[in-house]
Symmetry: C2
Subunit: 204 residues, 2 copies
């Protein structure tokens, strides 16, 4: 084993960067599939979106038993309401006004799908994020940078968005878009790849 092709089914440059940062080899293949599912169940919504993305790519690999597809979906949840990517600048301002001065949850659902479409691992990781109190000036200024437009909840946990975040409780990479610690543990458990492949098991 340990010779599986890992395919990341995501168009997010943040997910690519996070996974590349830990030194694993993988291919990138965005699914182009949009989010869907029951909005009254946030973890279920994120998980069904992740499975949909992963299954769309897995179907293209039918017959490739050496492939494993990793897909993920990140949402922001406040008062039971799901915040995805803002539709426009006004929507981004509305989201940031709601998040201002409060603690919300970031949920990233991720799964591994084996061709033609078997989900072999799934998980939803939650992180609490507390925003500082934002002034209308800061909200307008931040939206004008363009950074919020392709991010769930209308902010990035890296970049300028760091100035909005007072504290994080849980996995930080989960807020960026992929819970690295949990994803790598699953990759090792599923025998897809291993961190430090050259390192022997024996203790000194």
């Amino acid at each position: 084993m340990w010779s599986t092709r890992l395919i990341l089914a995501s168009a997010s440059p943040r997910r690519v960067e996070l996974l590349r940062g830990v030194g694993l080899a993988f291919e990138v293949m965005p699914s182009g599939v949009d989010e869907t599912g029951p909005r009254d169940d946030p973890p279920g919504f994120a998980l069904s979106a992740a499975k949909l993305k992963g299954s769309a790519i897995a179907a293209r690999f039918t017959g490739h038993h050496d492939a494993a597809i990793l897909s993920a979906d990140t949402i922001v949840v406040l008062d039971g309401e799901i915040y995805e990517k803002p539709s426009d600048a006004a929507d981004a301002e509305r989201m940031l006004s709601r998040l201002s001065g409060r603690t919300h949850e970031v949920l990233t659902a991720f799964c591994f799908v084996k061709p033609p479409g078997t989900v072999v691992h799934e998980d939803v990781v939650r992180t609490e994020v507390t925003f500082k109190k934002l002034t209308p000036r800061e909200i307008r200024g931040y939206v004008k940078t363009g950074e919020p437009m392709d991010k769930a909840g209308a902010y990035a946990a890296q970049g300028i968005g760091m100035c909005l975040i007072e504290s994080v409780n849980g996995s930080y990479s989960n807020v960026v878009g992929l819970p690295v610690c949990e994803v790598v543990a699953a990759i090792e458990k599923l025998q897809i790849a291993r961190l430090f492949p050259g390192e022997r098991e024996t203790t000194p």
Copy 2:
């Protein structure tokens, strides 16, 4: 006002990247000064190191009333013991064995010094970091990547180090080396610079 030269007194590429990420203009001038101070007082230790670095650079700017020096020092603290950069690979393995499976504190002290040497702002920000339980194999493999060697506590909160961190409680950027939210708030309070400078104060 709002026309102060901001000088970052640090050789850390992580600090440069964090500050650059929020879009502020600044110059970089490493002090070359080493850490010192009473080791039985971790916040005092970090703060005195930060002040020493900032003062060393401020002295070079005597007469430049438009300059403000930002300096910082990051340490890891577990059971009252201060962990700085490891001295060698064996020291890094020792530190990581101690941090494995436990929660430690990361303290970043930062200050602003005006030439020739007046500290106009100082703060120490604390973040809790919980490590997953590491195997001897993982510790050896991680040390061999070289990533731990120039980092306080022998790990990076970004890169491969993300696989070691189970959770963070507080400011994430503080763990990387500069508490961005607090630093930017101080930069604005001291009227050194402002986020979104083109944005008017008036509400819609």
